[in-house]
């Protein structure tokens, strides 16, 4: 390459310019193709993000122009807002309980479905269904009905002679219903696990069997280490999404975070502050702190990865 360039150069300026034009031409074409994405990126992502960063340093009510207040929003958040820490607490509880739970369930179901059985395709689809419904409002409403005082859950419990509590009216149980809702939607990690399990070469298992390994040994010494990259991926992705969970808490608590702020997810509080209490500048600051928290935890996950995630290059 270097030699070629040198050759061009030695042949004089004109050729060099042509080469640059050619490069500009191809680059131009590439940029033209990228334009829709670039417009989207700048108008819908970069500029709004910068605007929100600016707003986080202002007192902005949505109704009148923002006023610069410096770090006041951030100071108040860490030192004065008595609802901020509980909201963060609930969210962290939700993430750290529901993500491992959903991951374990997804892996177990994937293991169960990773066999050649008649109709296994239908089973896989059925298990994936809850995730197709996603974090939708309809699912959250259904969940609210299930855990209603006279809902299905308490009816089933009643069948066994157990009087179920008002799940959503008691601060101790309300956040758990949200955790279960998340755990129930294990479809996407499950599909990814399934794909990973199918990629494990069968000869590895054959070799293990020849050595006399039983099913449990095969799982812990072969399967599990080999899919650690996928576990890592699922956990990190779910963590990111769970920190931003909004719809279930909004629907189940009717937008209030009740009872006693026990379902007041971070994003729900952000929303209440921004739209309910006219503190949009503060809400923007909260959004940036959330971004920092997610970035820090993701970074931490990558740091720990080298100790437990299988890397074939090592």
């Amino acid at each position: 390459m270097t030699q070629e360039l040198g050759a061009e150069k030695s042949q004089g300026k004109s050729l060099w310019v042509t080469a640059r034009d050619k490069r500009a031409q191809t680059n131009g074409a590439a940029y033209a193709m990228l334009t829709p994405w670039l417009i989207g990126f700048f108008c819908l992502t970069a500029i709004p993000m910068l605007a929100s960063l600016y707003l986080s340093f202002t007192d902005y009510s949505l109704l009148s122009p923002p006023e610069w207040v410096g770090l006041e929003n951030y100071q108040y958040m860490f030192n004065g807002d008595y609802r901020f820490w509980p909201a963060l607490n609930v969210t962290v509880f939700y993430v750290f309980v529901s993500v491992p739970l959903a991951t374990v369930i997804a892996l177990l179901v994937a293991l169960g479905l990773n066999r050649q059985l008649r109709g296994v395709g239908i089973l896989r689809s059925v298990y994936y269904l809850p995730s197709l419904l996603g974090g939708s409002v309809a699912v959250a409403i259904m969940w609210r009905e299930l855990f209603d005082q006279n809902g299905l859950v308490n009816n089933v419990l009643g069948f066994f002679g157990i009087a179920g509590p008002a799940w959503l009216a008691v601060p101790n149980s309300a956040p758990w219903t949200l955790v279960f809702l998340h755990a129930w939607q294990f479809g996407s990690p499950m599909v990814i696990f399934l794909a990973a399990l199918k990629q494990i070469p069968a000869d590895l298992y054959e070799a293990a069997e020849l050595d006399g390994a039983n099913a449990v040994q095969k799982f812990f010494t072969l399967t599990l280490p080999l899919i650690t990259p996928i576990i890592f991926f699922n956990v990190v992705m779910q963590m990111i999404v769970s920190f931003q969970a909004f719809t279930p808490a909004f629907v189940i608590s009717n937008g209030t975070g009740a009872p006693l702020d026990s379902t007041l997810f971070y994003t729900l509080y952000l929303y209440i502050e921004g739209f309910g209490n006219f503190h949009m500048g503060y809400a923007a600051a909260m959004a940036w702190v959330l971004l920092a928290i997610i970035a820090a935890l993701t970074g931490f996950a990558f740091l720990t990865a080298r100790f437990w995630v299988f890397n074939p290059d090592d």
Binding site: L63, A196, Q199, I230, F233, T256
Partner: protein
């Protein structure tokens, strides 16, 4: 073996975050029909259809075309604030107590001094309505209807069944407590644990009735709180004791849900409150028992009976509207025209126009529930002599609709997380920050 490249991973997760953030920022974008008057309001059940019918009647009479935007309460104010921020405010929109001053203070509302009393005729309005149109000397707000606030609702059938004397509208706070305890005891004697009244400690309008019964106000004219720490401590203590001695529903006996989960429907307690009198409809639709109103009690036998008849919803005109005259005509129609009242029914309370209210009552076409609601206002008017100070900007977090602090603190006391003193201090320090 699948390996995830760090860069790919970051790219993927980065765009996932961005997409999530974006989805939460972008709400529905309302397009504006050119030339017509856009009107935004909220309502539940058939209220939206009724209000839209009134607008249709106006459009037919006046030839002014209307783009009605009725929605549910949930999401209404988000959308409104976004529309205003984007310069797309509706010409006319509905506001309510906890945030209307915010809109006025921020310059988003058109002053109506040139319209109220002129295009919008106020000749026959109740004083309670006229007293609610101004903020700091400027007229902004056009009341859509009147109601008592709070509306204390009780189950007469239940009280009769246990032989507890029917409620006296002139009762005192002590008599209220005694009545609740007696009915709780009588009802519980039959086996199922019951209480006298719902836990009203977190209800802002009931707290307001309490401080008014002591001769004070929820908010002072200067925009601060109108009551003292001692008043609030007395209030929270009242309910703390009530939850402990069986007078009021304790937290462990709470049910979740709307009207159908209310103690007055489930038989847990025969006294509850509604934000305004039209709430009686919701309760009455779920029971055959005879429900009725009784005012919040007098503070003591030496104190006057203090009630509050007030508008519960107002319409305003956007400062940016280029059709203010037409908007004012619409507001005059909604408040002073028999056709509008007939269409709206009691979806915004009883008419602010005295003559129309009398006409409706005399016509005898009201349902049982509607008649009770009309009668409730008529009964309360003589005792509603002190108007309410319009809630100042910044009152929404304290006493607004979404987890107001007043309610959160009452719950925290109920669940033994904090004591009354801590709650009171917290309320006052948050009031300092917001008001």
């Amino acid at each position: 073996m699948t390996r995830i490249n760090k860069r790919q991973f970051l790219k993927f997760s980065g765009s996932a975050i961005a997409a999530g953030a974006l989805a939460s920022v972008l709400g529905p974008i309302g397009a504006r029909a050119a030339g017509s008057l856009t009107v935004a309001w909220w309502g539940e059940g058939d209220q939206n259809k009724r209000t839209a019918d009134a607008m249709t009647a106006f459009a037919k009479n006046s030839g002014i075309s209307i783009d009605p935007q009725g929605t549910n309460f949930n999401g209404y104010f988000d959308r409104l604030a976004t529309q205003i921020a984007g310069g797309n405010a509706p010409d006319v929109f509905q506001v309510y107590l906890a945030s209307m001053a915010e809109y006025a203070k921020r310059g988003t509302l058109a002053p109506l001094d040139d319209y109220l009393g002129k295009t919008i005729d106020t000749t026959d309005w109740e004083d309670a309505a006229i007293n609610s149109v101004s903020l700091d000397g400027t007229k902004f707000f056009v009341p859509l209807g009147l109601s008592t606030q709070p509306a204390i609702i009780y189950d007469k059938t239940v009280f009769d069944s246990v032989g507890v004397t029917d409620l006296n509208p002139n009762w005192t706070l002590d008599e209220f407590k005694e009545t609740c305890l007696n009915v709780a005891k009588a009802l519980s004697a039959s086996g199922k644990k019951a209480y006298g009244c719902n836990d009203l400690g977190g209800q802002q309008t009931v707290l307001e009735a309490f401080v008014r019964s002591k001769g004070k106000n929820m908010f002072a004219e200067d925009g601060g709180l109108g009551f003292t720490k001692d008043d609030l401590a007395e209030w929270y203590t009242l309910w703390d004791e009530a939850r402990g001695n069986g007078m009021a529903v304790p937290p462990e006996a709470r049910k979740q849900g709307g009207f159908e989960a209310s103690p007055i429907i489930t038989g847990t307690a025969p006294i509850v409150q509604a934000a305004s009198a039209k709430g009686l409809q919701g309760y009455q639709s779920l029971t055959k028992n005879d429900l009725n109103f009784n005012p919040w009690p007098r503070y003591s036998k030496d104190d006057e009976r203090v009630e509050l008849v007030t508008p519960i919803e107002w319409m305003v005109i956007s400062a940016n509207s280029d059709q203010k005259d037409e908007a004012a005509e619409l507001l005059n129609f909604l408040t002073n025209d028999a056709a509008a009242i007939a269409a709206m029914g009691i979806s915004h309370g009883v008419p602010v126009n005295k003559k129309l209210r009398q006409q409706v009552m005399d016509a005898g076409k009201l349902s049982d529930v509607e008649r009770k609601i009309y009668q409730n206002t008529a009964d309360a008017l003589p005792y509603s002599t002190r108007p309410r100070v319009i809630y100042p900007a910044g009152s929404a977090p304290l006493v607004g609709p979404t987890t107001p602090l007043i309610n959160l603190l009452n719950d925290q006391i109920a669940f033994k997380q904090i004591d009354v003193k801590t709650a009171v201090d917290r309320f006052f320090s948050e009031a300092d920050r917001n008001l």
